[in-house]
């Protein structure tokens, strides 16, 4: 079974990669399996300077999902390049850097810094993080801001740029078109939906930041719908994500029009989620009558 999938700047041996923020920089999960098995790796967000992130608690469990408000904690792009990315060199799998920021200038600065690294193959532009006070999500909900930051980052980047869209919008196609117009090489969708859980005993939101991003199987129908809608309207490559647990889920994303998939929350429940999905994929594809991954992409459209 041919699992190869080709996206701008990325020829992946299989379409499955861990999602940003759910895999750190790979070290921990490398204890569980050989990271070379992965189609690619999207690492944790990088900002211009080190960020502490939000106060704790930062996570809560919901029905078939979870909330998180990490707040982009990371050691800063310089340290990531120096101390984190070199570890991944020994694995035969492309690395996608996730770029975040509060201002267009910060996004551009991070991108320019990443240009110096040879340890990455692409950039994922995170304009959709709902857990930071300034920046992040505004870029992800205003088409003109999204267009502007995409354009600037695209100008600054030597690597292909995948723009990660926020699902917290009325019209996802409009957002996709805006960033495609600005030159995005691909899309990553979806990031988390903004949610809240209240602690009944303490009478206040469980997450210290009050709101957090909802991820996991609960949001899968929203992700599938948005990818389907964007695929109907545009030809741009898509890395699909949101609630993938099994190889069947991955297949559903491919049918909806994703060219590859990312697995986030599932890693926490099962550190072996990615390799198990990769392992199951050939027989699942066969069961549903497909000969290769590229054969499936977009085939759920009527």
């Amino acid at each position: 079974m041919n699992l190869t999938t080709r996206l701008p700047g990325l020829t992946l041996k299989n379409p499955v990669m861990p999602a940003s923020g759910c895999f750190g920089f790979g070290k921990e999960y490398s204890q569980f399996y050989d990271l070379s098995e992965l189609g690619a790796i999207i690492v944790k967000a990088a900002t211009g300077e080190a960020r502490y992130g939000n106060p704790t608690p930062r996570v809560a469990e919901t029905s078939s999902g979870m909330l998180n408000a990490i707040g982009l904690q990371n050691p800063g792009v310089e340290k990531i390049i120096e101390e984190e990315l070199p570890f991944l060199r020994s694995y035969d799998t492309p690395v996608i850097a996730n770029v975040a920021g509060s201002t267009v200038e910060e996004y551009v600065k991070v991108t320019e810094t990443l240009n110096r690294s040879e340890d990455i193959a692409a950039i994922e532009l995170n304009i959709s993080c709902p857990n930071v006070k300034e920046g992040g999500v505004q870029f992800g909900t205003d088409p003109s801001l999204a267009k502007e930051v995409t354009y600037q980052v695209k100008e600054a980047s030597d690597y292909p740029v995948y723009v990660k869209l926020s699902p917290n919008v009325s019209n996802i196609v409009e957002m996709a078109k805006a960033v495609a117009d600005a030159g995005a090489d691909g899309l990553s969708m979806i990031n988390t939906l903004t949610g809240m859980q209240i602690n009944l005993k303490q009478r206040k939101p469980i997450i210290a930041n009050k709101t957090g991003g909802l991820s996991g199987p609960a949001i899968k129908p929203i992700a599938i719908r948005m990818i389907y809608e964007v695929r109907q309207a545009l030809d741009i490559p898509i890395i699909g994500m949101g609630g993938i647990i099994t190889a069947e889920d991955a297949l559903e994303f491919l049918l909806a029009g994703a060219n590859a998939v990312a697995v986030g929350t599932a890693n926490f429940q099962n550190p072996l989620a990615c390799p198990e999905i990769i392992n199951d994929l050939p027989s699942v594809l066969k069961q549903y009558g497909f000969d290769s991954v590229e054969d499936v992409i977009g085939k759920g459209h009527v």
Binding site: G24, Y52, G53, P57, T62, S64, M66, Q73, F268, P271
Partner: protein
């Protein structure tokens, strides 16, 4: 080497109100050190539940956990039976560095579900010939467990919030009264207790073990950080760098 394993439950029994002791079989049991925890998956729950190791039997390759029903996950955990299997990540986190320390007399201070890891620690210390004094706090008489087991390791004092057993009040009240001699203290329990104890024992050498809501439990998600005293803009991860920290290392909030 951290792994995910399907472990068989050897025994499962209630030992106090809402409190259960579960013995699990694993070839890795002998590698579990006092202070470490295991991360347990539950059907119908997105996130795993962290539970401390309360004892290890190297011969039978088993280890013990003790937990209290707190919410839906621990309630589900309470319904398992001997013979059932649990999906567990282990070993997780840091441990009390007993081998690296020169100790004569250890003061153990535990509260509620902070008590289980301290039993494994106390037992290990005692086996090394170290004198152990234990001060344990519970909400009420019905919640007390392992009292005799602690007694067997050294003097043990118990406080209950409602005064239904032992001293009425907190572990700090006992420590105040007792003013025990010790060179290292080891504490685990709810954060308010840890704060009170570290405050009271400020200046002493000691280790504390923290709790926080976790995502991954292995260090990838940054859910469980705690700020450092030396620089509150820096943090460590409770699941990976902790749960055991030197008493003056982190800021308790």
């Amino acid at each position: 080497m951290i792994t995910k394993q399907l472990l068989t439950i050897k025994s499962h029994m209630q030992i106090a109100e809402d409190t259960f002791e579960v013995v699990l079989h694993s070839p890795l049991a002998k590698e579990l050190k006092p202070g470490q925890f295991v991360h347990i998956a539950l059907a119908n729950h997105m996130l795993r539940r962290p539970v401390s190791v309360a004892g290890v039997d190297t011969e039978s390759e088993t280890f013990t956990i003790i937990f209290k029903i707190f919410g839906a996950g621990t309630r589900e955990l309470s319904k398992f039976q001997a013979g059932d299997s649990l999906d567990v990540i282990l070993p997780c986190g840091s441990y009390y560095p007993v081998d690296q320390l020169e100790i004569d007399h250890a003061l153990i201070v535990g509260g509620g579900i902070g008590v289980p890891p301290l039993y494994y620690l106390a037992k290990t210390l005692k086996e090394k010939g170290i004198k152990v004094t234990s001060v344990l706090g519970f909400q009420s008489k019905e919640q007390i467990f392992y009292e005799e087991k602690f007694q067997a390791l050294g003097n043990t004092y118990i406080a209950t919030n409602d005064g239904s057993y032992g001293k009425k009040g907190f572990v700090t009240d006992i420590i105040n009264e007792l003013n025990p001699a010790f060179d290292y203290f080891f504490s685990c329990g709810p954060t308010p207790m840890l704060k009170a104890v570290s405050g009271q024992l400020d200046g002493h050498k000691g280790y504390i073990s923290l709790e926080e809501r976790m995502g991954c439990g292995v260090g990838t998600c940054y859910a469980c950080v705690v700020p450092l005293k030396e620089d509150p803009k820096k943090s460590k991860k409770i699941c990976k760098d902790g749960p055991v920290f030197s008493a003056n290392e982190v800021i308790l909030t």
